[in-house]
């Protein structure tokens, strides 16, 4: 069980939206983690500096939240490690060919009312729900 957290989730969501708007206002870029990370892999994109800074900021964030506010960030990965790694490979291939993930398509693209992002978001939400249904309720897994 995880608790319903409406206040934290609305606050966090608003901050994610704010970061998307800020990155557009300053760098004119979509705040999509897939696109930002892909530019950091060889052949490394010429504009790697802002990408590396954005990723570093995102990694440091939970540490600062914990240090400055004493807010405990809940984390639980219930899936066995081999499946986590298989899932990583699958996600990597999927987001590369699909040109984006939850942040790029689900937030930035949807907010621009991009038809590609609307189709992508509906598609990955659907297959994720089907996958969880199959794993938990048909196969009886984690």
């Amino acid at each position: 069980m995880t608790e319903f957290t409406p206040v934290l989730s609305l606050t966090g969501g608003a901050l994610i939206g704010l970061a998307a708007v800020l990155l557009m206002a300053t760098h004119g870029r979509i705040a999509g983690m897939t696109g930002i990370l892909t530019g950091l892999m060889p052949p490394v994109s010429a504009d790697w500096a802002w990408r590396a800074a954005f990723v570093a900021g995102a990694i440091v964030a939970p540490i600062l939240v914990l240090q400055l506010t004493d807010t405990v960030i809940a984390f639980d990965s219930p899936v066995p490690m081999p499946w986590v790694m298989i899932s990583g490979l699958i996600v990597g291939v999927g987001v590369y060919f699909g040109s984006g993930c939850t942040s790029g398509h689900g937030v930035c693209g949807m907010a621009r009312l991009s038809p590609r992002s609307i189709v992508a978001t509906l598609t990955f939400l659907s297959t994720a729900i089907i996958t969880v249904f199959l794993v938990r309720h048909v196969l009886g897994g984690f």
Binding site: T5, G13, L37, F54, A58, I59, V93, G94, F97
Partner: protein, 146 residues
Amino acid sequence: MLRTVSAGVTGLIFGTGIALSGMANPAKVLNFFDVAGQWDPSLALVMVAALIVAFTGYRLVLRRSAPLFEAKFHLPTSRRIDVPLVAGSAVFGIGWGLSGFCPGGAIPALGLGEISAWAFIGAMLVGILAARTVRIALQQRALQSA
């Protein structure tokens, strides 16, 4: 320098939002998908709040002629709903549903020092590199046979 610091602060805001919202917690993500079981609707609120802010903010920002640090906005121009988009997104959803990790959720989880997040991101980068290698090879083969 200023533009790099600005991107770092923006990443900090993004990561804080992910961490507070519950998106960095695979158990919570999986329960959001588990509509037939232990459904936790929290993440729908993350999306609603993020979309309201981004939709409104983009409208204000994109009225300007250019962003602060660049000559122009770098917006995706393709409008084609093609096979790579749909198939890639379908595959991504399967992977996301298997573990509860997605790229934007797992990057801030690295800061929590969680080994599973590091394993996920490592495997994901291998997946992206493999996919890119395949795409480049296919494009070269198409060029040679043309």
